[in-house]
């Protein structure tokens, strides 16, 4: 079956790939398959596998969405060098559909991870910490905010 790809008006080549069809499904499928791989390679219980997936998802998405700044190519002459990927998508507009989706995914992962580990204590604390940090980083009020100057420009 076919989908139509309409050309976007986003000039930032680092973020415009997120506006094409199929991204959301790919994201969900990649998370699901990584759970299957962790489950089959490490042989742990499903709950521990979900916790591992949730925490590694936290590390990967925090690093690439909220820590790394700029774009991986030099064509745009560095106009986005002070902005993280999260601040660049949708041209900086807040509360768009893409942003809402990306905020919901860690929450759903948190619910699945905590449910399948029966809310036991050490992992529950780690999972909650991860989801709180991720969701707070995605608030509209945190746009371009650098707490205590961490990760600010020179």
């Amino acid at each position: 079956m076919y989908v139509r790809a309409e050309p976007t008006t986003d000039l930032n080549k680092n973020t415009e790939w997120f506006t094409y069809p199929g991204v959301w499904s790919s994201y969900i499928l990649i998370v699901f398959f990584s759970w299957l791989i962790v489950l089959s390679l490490l042989g742990t219980s499903p709950g521990t596998a979900w916790t591992i997936v949730h925490l590694s998802h936290f590390f990967v998405t925090y690093h690439f969405f909220h820590w790394k700044k700029g774009t991986p190519f030099a064509d745009d002459q560095g106009i986005y060098n002070g902005l993280t990927w999260w601040e660049q998508i949708d041209n900086g507009r807040q509360l768009t559909r893409n942003r809402k989706f990306l905020t919901v995914v860690p929450l759903v992962l948190y619910l699945i991870a905590s449910h399948t580990t029966d809310y036991r204590n050490p992992v529950l604390f780690l999972n909650t910490l991860a989801v709180v940090v991720l969701v707070v980083a995605k608030f509209p009020n945190m746009h371009k905010v650098r707490i205590f100057g961490i990760n600010a420009d020179h």
Binding site: V3, P7, W17, P21, G22, S26, F73, A74
Partner: protein, 490 residues
């Protein structure tokens, strides 16, 4: 409008994710190794900032042999490609002495002027002997020869405008003119797929830039209405000037611009139009005068017409055509005219001679033959490719046809397999096109014969089966029907 099979979209995202992840792993280990070994570069500043060259190092360099292939002859319909080899997985490429004769499907050689021509080349050599290879001076100081005056008049007549000015380089024409004709307090509305030179010129001008969805006149109207109602960004004063920038043929899509509707909208809201005909001048239209002739738009309605001579005329340089007052103003203010070396005299003579051939002023009908041939070749090639099941973009009559590849692994596969069978194609990937939509771009020329096209079709069909890019069902073989065939897609 591009139609992607859903599964292909998913696998393309997954492939790029995998490539990105591997690149990040390698960078991570590289950082550890570099920290471990002391480097002898103390006191030197880094050339690149942070991760700026990640794409080049980890994605582009892996398939570097598909881009920038050196050639050893003029880029005619058949040319010599120098073979290269690499000992370190494509990080460095070394040239060999061997050359292979390949069919050229990548050069912008629309009318066949890229190689020696029986009318143009003797005259070019004459002017090389008479005027030397370069004027070594700017236009205002000593660089205006009789050839330059004749060239500007010739171009103005050809395009259908009162006056024209010519520059030595096509990219510079856009990036040096836009800052001069508009400044802070003005508004530039440009198509989302405009060329990098226009984007650079617009950024350099200091005007506010807004983008409208590619080739969608209703969205252009919506953006215009919104911007005119809001006014300048903070003061909300009315805009000093509004310029809408569009291209004649978009080189990555092969689509023609919807010029009549856009002109109607701009007249209604009193905005200026800037038309960049880099690929369409000389290649489309009954007498080769570009997209205005093809779509029936009066050239008086388009305020500034820009074009380049690299594609259809076999030369170099760019021009701006407009009213006499506009060209006079540009000659006083444009830095490309005042400070840059003027266009080289043999190149100018090549343009004058090729325009004469196109118009038939050389006494033969070769110009009309070339125009008819490129139209037939493009329509034939495009319809055959669509019948085989490839996804080909572009409108009828356009000599540029991109074949969609999508997956990043198919880019080097298609390119290398075609080269093995002596067909040289150009593949285009990420920064020039959106991430998902990698493509192989075929440019048809008037010097391609029917046998060349049939051989190309055979090779592309074989390679397409091997690589798996026939995304649409192929048409069943039926007898050749005369006239226009309508292609039914899913």
């Amino acid at each position: 409008m591009i139609t992607i099979p859903y599964l292909t979209a998913l696998t393309t995202y997954f492939s790029y994710g995998l490539l990105f992840a591997f690149g990040q792993f390698r960078d991570f280990f590289r950082k550890i190794f570099d920290w471990w070994q002391a480097s002898n570069l103390q006191g030197y500043a880094p050339i690149c900032l942070g991760l700026e060259d990640f794409y080049i190092r980890r994605l582009y360099l892996r398939i570097q042999d598909c881009f920038g292939r050196p050639i050893a002859s003029a880029p005619d319909a058949w040319f010599d490609v120098v073979e290269r080899y690499s000992n370190d997985c494509n990080k460095t490429l070394k040239r060999t002495e061997k050359k292979s004769r390949c069919l050229n499907l990548g050069s912008y050689n629309y009318l066949g002027f890229a190689a020696a021509d029986e009318y143009c080349t003797p005259r070019v050599i004459d002017s090389l002997n008479k005027f030397s290879a370069s004027t070594c001076s700017t236009r205002v100081e000593g660089g205006t020869t009789a050839l330059h005056e004749e060239l500007e008049e010739c171009v103005a007549n050809f395009v259908g405008k009162p006056a024209a000015v010519v520059f030595g380089m096509g990219y510079v024409t856009n990036s040096a003119i836009l800052p001069v004709i508009i400044g802070k307090g003005g508004l530039i509305i440009s198509d989302s797929l405009n060329h990098n030179s226009i984007v650079n010129g617009a950024r350099g001008s200091g005007a506010t830039i807004r983008v409208f969805q590619h080739n969608t006149p209703p969205h252009l109207e919506k953006v215009l209405r919104e911007q005119i109602a809001e006014g300048q960004p903070r003061t909300h004063r009315p805009w000093k000037k509004i310029i809408v920038v569009v291209e004649g043929i978009y080189s990555m899509e092969g689509e023609l611009c919807k010029l009549p509707e856009i002109v109607a909208i701009c007249k209604k809201y009193k905005a200026y139009i800037y038309l960049d005909e880099a690929h369409s001048i000389g290649a489309v239209g009954k007498t080769g005068r570009g997209v205005c002739e093809l779509l029936g738009v009066d050239t008086g309605d388009v305020d500034i017409m820009m074009g380049t001579f690299t594609k259809s005329f076999g030369s170099c340089g760019g021009y701006i055509a407009g009213s006499k007052e506009l060209i006079q103003y540009l000659k006083y203010t444009c830095p490309a005219h005042l400070y840059a070396t003027s266009i080289s005299p043999p190149a100018a003579q090549q343009i004058i001679s090729s325009i004469k051939v196109i118009l038939g002023d050389d006494g033969s009908s070769r110009g009309a033959q070339k125009l008819a041939r490129i139209r037939e070749n493009s329509n034939f090639f495009r319809s055959e490719l669509q019948k085989m099941g490839f996804e080909v973009l572009g409108d009828n009559d356009s000599p540029v046809m991109p074949i969609m590849l999508y997956n990043p692994a198919k880019i080097p596969a298609f390119s290398r397999e075609c080269l093995k069978q002596n067909v040289a194609v150009v593949t285009v990937a990420f920064p020039a096109t959106p991430l998902l939509l990698a493509r192989a771009r075929i440019c048809i020329s008037a010097s391609h014969t029917k046998e060349d096209l049939l051989k190309a079709l055979e090779v592309i069909s074989q390679v397409g089966d091997l690589v798996g890019i026939k995304y649409f069902p192929a048409e069943p073989k039926k007898q050749l029907q005369p006239g226009k065939e309508t292609i039914k897609l899913e």
